[in-house]
Symmetry: C2
DNA sequence: GTCATTGCAAATGCTTTGCAGTGCC
DNA sequence: GGCACTGCAAAGCATTTGCAATGAC
């Protein structure tokens, strides 16, 4: 049973079959689907679900802080359900696969005061880039 | 005189007035224009320049490694001419202003072997997020 | 029964592309 | 003078929006 669905119910979400299916698709770690991929996977279970509903639902999950938007390539945004454990992303430059990773320490502390331009800094997003094992082997 | 234009000439670039104007617009530090902003600024000097040419030119500058693509907000990509000094970005969550910053050390070293999933890592992009002084004052 | 949510279809924003004409080397 | 580059206009994605119909509570 999904923790996510429980949390949403507790927040008074009106639970439609469309929303349930979207939430179920977004379950697990190392999950980083585009809106279109979420729609395709949701439509496999609920064929009449529309793209607009998927976009609406994803937008609400992001507002509720249950899902994180990730843009690693300047193309379609990806949606990451791993919102309750701070993490960063490791991306393959060749195939685009994404893994959730946990660097040591807090990246924010690496920025000296002299480089903060008076900003109040709240977070740091890190994208590590490289080549994954399968692509390295294929080369 | 622009270093950038010199380098492009040395690489055998065909130097048209359109390309010259685009390269001149992209000169300086803390410069992070969208393609549309580049087009507007270029058109101020060369009114008949087309968006397609601006996009073509920006794409080539990126391929040549003279300009970096930055996507901080999942909307339009921004173009950063500061490609020859490693740096990261500090973004205001309210107004979107971007500053080039230099954290201490190499962010890549913060990722332990156990978190590398067999990848060969080549770089790390860091986006620090917070509120800039003007927005903090306006709040 | 009410009102939020859905689906459709059209609109929007950003970017790319095809192709005929232009002008740099 | 050849061929890369330009401009135009149309096409292509990703995403948002307006509105009538639907269905959860």
């Amino acid at each position: 049973m999904s923790d996510l669905l429980d949390r949403l119910r507790n927040r008074g979400w009106r639970l439609t079959s469309q929303r349930r299916v979207v939430a179920e698709v977004l379950d697990g770690t190392h999950v980083h689907y585009t809106a279109d991929e979420v729609h395709a996977r949701a439509a496999a279970r609920l064929p009449e679900i529309s793209r607009a509903t998927v976009y609406n639902t994803l937008g609400e999950l992001v507002s509720l802080g249950e899902v994180i938007e990730v843009s690693t390539d300047g193309r379609a945004k990806r949606y990451d359900p791993n919102a309750h454990h701070a993490h960063q992303h490791l991306v393959c430059d060749r195939c685009g696969v994404i893994r959730d990773v946990h660097p040591t320490g807090d990246p924010v502390t690496d920025l000296p005061d002299a480089e903060r331009y008076g900003f109040t800094i709240s977070s740091a997003d890190v994208t590590y880039r490289g080549i994954c094992p399968s692509c390295a082997q294929a080369a």
